[in-house]
């Protein structure tokens, strides 16, 4: 592994778009990703994506990943696979672990686009084999072609819970129910509708009380809850399932940003602790950029545009401003604002506003 001016940590949609936009203006970035396959979350998304044509809407997620990888192949962009950034040192050195060997890199600019990790909920039996995170189920099914079980209870009705349920049904797995603690479905209604019309009940104001089983999951007890999340006596029911899938949110993967000493702020709307950043995604540490789910849980489409901005930000930081660069930045910022303009973008808008006000 050789050094680079611009190191991109994480080869998801954010990191890949950052590499492409930076290379448009002459940078030669290095992307490292701990996985073998490039594309981050995209590689397991077999469904068509929403968004605008410019962000490849209507294309299936994994195909977006393949398209980006192809474009990268045509440019002066290097990719190192199965390479993890394991530490950030005060002098600006990033330690990269690959093949049991650590290489110190000292780039002039870094983009941390490490994505997010799944949240978990605990309940009696939640440690039994057969309780999975939705991401794990998706990886098993769509990357390795393995059915996680035969009868599934899905916990969480956000877009991830809905789309993973749909993908389970496509794989021939029976989804017994989707339960949601809040009074309304969290994800897009169009996703929910395609599940409902295939006959899967989506039960709002319901929670899981416990998993049944000795050596593995053999069932789940669920019940109705009131608006204080208290179970309503007499509404318990047992579902015969062998798999319980948790889709209860994501949290930004921010370790490297903490180590680098970036100012971190707790913004619930963005999914937890995130690094303060300016309009070009630069953190409070000059030269360290952040983009995608690590700076607020959103969508691949917004992650791609944030990545683009971060790539352009790195160009500005390393090579200075120019008229072309500025008009490119304006265009990307405008498209990003457009995607966030609707009711589903409200949380991200509010979160980013709050974050902007946190500068100390």
């Amino acid at each position: 592994m050789t050094n680079t001016d611009f190191l991109i940590i994480g080869g998801g949609p954010a990191g890949l778009m950052a590499a492409l936009s930076a290379s448009e203006f002459g940078l030669e970035p290095l992307i490292i990703d701990e996985n073998q396959a490039i594309g981050g979350q995209l590689i397991k998304q077999t469904h068509m994506f929403f968004g605008s044509k410019a962000e490849r809407a209507g294309t299936r997620g994994f195909e977006i990943g393949l398209e980006l990888e192809q474009e990268i192949g045509k440019r002066s962009i290097r990719i190192e696979r199965q390479a993890s950034a394991v530490g950030y040192y005060p002098d600006g050195t990033v330690a990269v672990l690959q093949n049991e060997k650590v290489t110190p890199l000292k780039p002039k600019a870094v983009l941390v686009a490490t994505g997010a990790s799944e949240n978990f909920v605990s309940f009696p039996g939640s440690d039994l084999p057969g309780v999975y995170g939705a991401g794990a189920v998706q990886t098993l099914m769509n990357v390795y072609g393995i059915k996680p079980g035969h009868r599934v209870l899905m916990v969480g009705s956000g877009n991830i819970g809905l789309i993973v349920s749909y993908q389970l049904m496509q794989a021939g797995v029976q989804v017994k129910a989707i339960i949601e603690g809040l009074p309304k479905i969290g994800g897009y209604l169009v996703h929910a509708s395609k599940i409902a019309r295939a006959g899967v009940p989506i039960l709002t104001r319901h929670t899981i009380l416990n998993a049944l089983g000795e050596d593995m999951v053999s069932g789940a007890v669920i019940s109705k809850i009131d608006d204080k999340w208290q179970t309503i006596e007499g509404t318990q029911q047992t579902l015969e399932v062998d798999t319980i899938c948790l889709a209860v949110g994501l949290s930004p993967l921010t370790e490297l940003l903490w180590q680098a000493g970036c100012q971190m702020n707790y913004i619930p709307e963005l999914g937890g602790q995130v690094a303060w950043h300016d309009d070009l995604m630069m953190t409070t540490v000059p030269g360290i950029f952040t983009a995608g789910d690590v700076t607020g849980i959103e969508e691949a489409s917004t992650a791609m545009l944030e990545g683009e901005l971060a790539g352009l930000g790195a160009v500005k930081f390393l090579k200075g401003d120019s008229k072309d660069l500025q008009s490119r930045i304006n265009d990307t910022a405008c498209r990003l604002a457009g995607l966030r303009a609707g009711p589903f973008g409200q949380k991200a808008r509010e979160g980013k506003c709050k974050l902007a006000e946190c500068k100390r």
Binding site: S52, A198, G199, S301, R340
Partner: protein
């Protein structure tokens, strides 16, 4: 509506999305500059070609033809499950809640490369049921 196949867009929530608009060769659907706006259909422009049906990531677009025959209407829907039915199959038609609402006959199955793995299935349903039928179950 009486003249032949026509598009029905069941997308009632403002989400950032517009492949319906960009895929229609006749500009019959518009979302506009605000990509979060709801799609608007111009039924005068739509000829029911079904191109948009397999391009909608929400699988929220259907084409219905009330003039299919004297007793039946045709409903074209996206269907991403295996096994695919075959023309001539009898199936149990499902409504929006997944409840069986009538029997239906498969009259067309289209699965070309251009559809990007979202096959289209057209069912003949009893007249009047075209507003209810949105999915189906292979009869067992």
């Amino acid at each position: 509506m009486k003249k032949g196949p026509v598009v029905i867009v069941e997308c009632f929530q403002e989400i950032p999305c517009n492949p319906c608009e960009t895929s229609c060769p006749r500009q019959a659907i518009s979302v506009g500059d605000n990509i979060n706006a709801l799609p608007q259909v111009d039924h005068h422009k739509c000829n029911g070609c079904t191109v948009c049906v397999s391009r909608c990531p929400g699988l929220a677009i259907f084409v219905i033809d009330v003039a299919y025959s004297d007793a039946e209407s045709a409903v074209t829907m996206p269907y991403e499950f295996l096994p695919l039915p075959e023309k001539g199959d009898l199936v149990a038609a499902l409504d929006r809640e997944g409840k069986e609402c009538c029997r239906a006959k498969v009259i067309k199955v289209v699965n070309t490369k251009a559809q990007g793995k979202t096959p289209l299935v057209t069912l003949a349903v009893p007249k009047g049921m075209e507003t209810d039928v949105r999915s189906f179950k292979l009869a067992s």
